[in-house]
């Protein structure tokens, strides 16, 4: 912790901001210290931490002081962390929060997440070492490049060995995962080939395949996530699953539709339904495929696509021509209306008000 230097937080010329993240706490080694809630900024030259509650409290460390970094995943009740191992402080270092300390590393705890991107960017900066090409004022540049004949602190050697082992272990895990994944993909590819050949047979023998079998085939495709090359007029890419879904949707959406003037955009429906489900969510495609079946199944809702591409669900009882006529009346009554004002009046979303 004694490597930090007080700073104003303003960037120098030639120094660029790379990424920033709120909600970061600093640990001195394994100990929590008073710097528990701050914004962490990564520039091309430094790592800067500013207290969220007191903006005056702002400190930085030059990236050149960093030996290496590790990731520590989150656990139950623990946020994910990045461990930053540091070179010893140079003798001419300016004032900082601590004058001396026993640890040669600090931890950054990401209480509001963001560690994935931050780690990636920090690793990039450590690799690129842009601070070496873009000199800034001497006040925070310390000469820490690889110097021949420099005596390394014993602690660092031990740390590096531990890192090497950890890297090998992680590599092994990852490569095993990738190996297994590749084997799995080979099998998946076989499924794709088989489905293609069946699809071709169906195309050749139009009408000789029963409805039942087509539906079975489609559900197989759905399980594997293979795009359906054969579309039948009545049910499109839908399957039994989508038919059931369509019926469910008709039940769920009746009331919300009535509250919103009989019409809702598909995005609104997507959010509404998935928020209500909580788990086993619908994919956007599931929703679209189910909605395409509404009319065919003679349900009281229907899917409609405007010229602009906007897709909506509306009640069968909703007559757009009447709506347009009444909208025209409303607007002429008021002289003029923006889409926002109209939306408020009728109680519908601005997007749909625009369409009308």
């Amino acid at each position: 912790m004694d490597r930090f230097v007080w700073t104003s937080g303003l960037l120098e010329i030639n120094e660029t901001l790379v990424i920033q993240q709120r909600g970061v706490r600093i640990y001195d080694g394994e100990e929590k210290i008073k710097f528990d809630a701050g914004t962490l900024l990564l520039s091309t030259h430094r790592l800067i931490w500013r207290d969220q509650k007191n903006h005056e409290c702002c400190m930085a460390i030059p990236l050149s002081q960093i030996v290496f970094i590790e990731e520590q995943s989150a656990g139950i009740g623990k946020s994910a962390k990045i461990v930053v191992h540091l070179h010893p402080a140079p003798p001419n270092k300016e004032l900082g929060p601590f004058q001396s300390c026993k640890n040669s590393y600090i931890k950054l705890s990401f209480k509001e997440h963001g560690q994935i991107e931050f780690y990636r960017r920090l690793s990039e900066e450590m690799t690129q070492r842009r601070w070496e090409n873009m000199p800034v004022s001497q006040s925070f540049q310390t000469n820490r490049g690889p110097q021949p004949g420099r005596i390394r602190a014993v602690g660092i050697v031990g740390i590096e060995r531990k890192l090497e082992e950890k890297r090998k272990e992680t590599d092994k895990n990852i490569s095993e995962a990738f190996e297994d994944l590749s084997k799995l993909m080979v099998k998946a590819k076989e499924m794709v080939e088989l489905s293609k050949s069946i699809a071709n047979k169906i195309k050749d023998k139009q009408g000789d395949i029963t409805e039942d079998e087509t539906i079975r085939f489609k559900s197989y495709l759905l399980s594997m996530g293979i795009a359906n090359p054969v579309t039948r007029e009545t049910y499109g890419s839908g399957t039994q699953y989508h038919m059931q879904l369509a019926k469910q949707l008709a039940g769920i959406l009746q009331a919300p539709l009535e509250e919103r003037g009989g019409i809702m955009s598909l995005t609104e429906v997507y959010c509404l339904v998935n928020r209500a489900r909580g788990m086993e969510l619908l994919s956007p495609e599931d929703l679209v495929n189910a909605c395409k079946m509404l009319e065919a199944l003679k349900l009281p809702l229907r899917l409609r696509v405007f010229d602009s591409g906007v897709m909506v669900i509306e009640l069968q009882s909703h007559k757009e021509e009447e709506m347009v006529a009444s909208a025209l009346e409303t607007v002429s009554e008021k002289g003029s209306l923006t889409s926002e004002e109209f939306a408020k009046l009728v109680g519908m979303s601005v997007l749909l008000a625009k369409e009308r």
Binding site: S73, G114, S182, L194, T267, Y270, P284, V288
Partner: protein, 258 residues
């Protein structure tokens, strides 16, 4: 039987032959479908095994997620196509991305009044993380992009526009053509753009520059600043947060404006 006409017998024979042919055709497909069904069951078992060993990897390791998605795309499989798909059910990738989709829509809706429906990927990322709270799984920018690509299916014109090394996410179906996009990319440097900037960098005539800026104004993506020194500045609120390395409170923002 001799009472039947000769023609009838021939027709009957033909019908029988046709029926047999149909049967065979159906049998062929039936065979293959049965085969597929068996292979599907086997695949499901393999996937279950994979999931039991590596499900955590997918959840925790964003690079692995990327690899996984790329491999699926190569062989022609979309693991996110349906919540009912094996991939989604056994690896849990579905819920992860579909929920992210909902969160993205909500953030865009909440900020639309400010930026007209245009937001940088960085800001979207920050806002989504904030909304997800402390105990949720972290997400990478790649995850956001994939979720957005899926949202496009819903027809409301989610767009992804590359600008200066990052992306602008468009959540409102404003008509944006090449001209508009190029001006957005120009504005990314300073957060604003002027007619002179456009003429100097893109070598357009005044009229063309004016039309593009008018359109951006109309769509609510740009704000007009007539008090700027020199000529009118067209600011893009979507690009604001990128410019500051400090967090500015509302107080400071008010004081900073001329």
């Amino acid at each position: 039987m001799h009472r039947r006409g000769v023609g009838a017998g021939a027709i009957a024979k033909k019908k029988l032959a046709e029926a047999k042919y149909k049967e065979r055709g159906t049998v062929l497909a039936e065979d293959q479908l049965a085969q597929m069904s068996k292979q599907l069951d086997m695949f499901k078992t393999n996937l279950e095994e994979f999931a039991s060993k590596h499900k955590q990897e997918i959840r925790k390791n964003p690079e692995f997620r990327v690899q996984f998605q790329d491999m699926c795309a190569t062989i022609g499989v979309d693991p996110l196509a349906s919540g009912k798909g094996f991939w989604s059910e056994m690896l849990g990738v579905g819920d992860f991305y579909y929920e992210l989709g909902v969160q993205i829509v909500e953030v865009c809706l909440a900020l639309k009044h400010r930026n007209g429906g245009l937001i940088t990927l960085e800001e979207l990322h920050q806002q989504v993380l904030k909304g997800r709270g402390k105990f949720a799984q972290d997400v990478s920018q790649d995850d956001l992009i994939r979720a957005i690509k899926k949202l496009k299916v819903l027809g409301t014109g989610f767009g992804i526009i590359p600008v200066g090394g990052t992306y602008l996410i468009q959540s409102v179906p404003a008509e944006l053509n090449m001209d508009h996009t190029v001006v957005l990319q120009l504005a990314e440097k300073n957060g604003y753009v002027t007619v002179s900037d456009i003429k100097a960098s893109l070598k357009w005539e005044t009229e063309r520059a004016r039309q593009v800026l008018e359109h951006l104004l109309k769509e609510g993506l740009a704000w007009l600043d007539l008090q700027a020194p020199g000529e009118a500045h067209y600011w893009l609120p979507a690009l604001f947060t990128d410019l500051y390395s400090q967090e500015i409170t509302a107080e400071e923002a008010r004081e900073a404006l001329p």
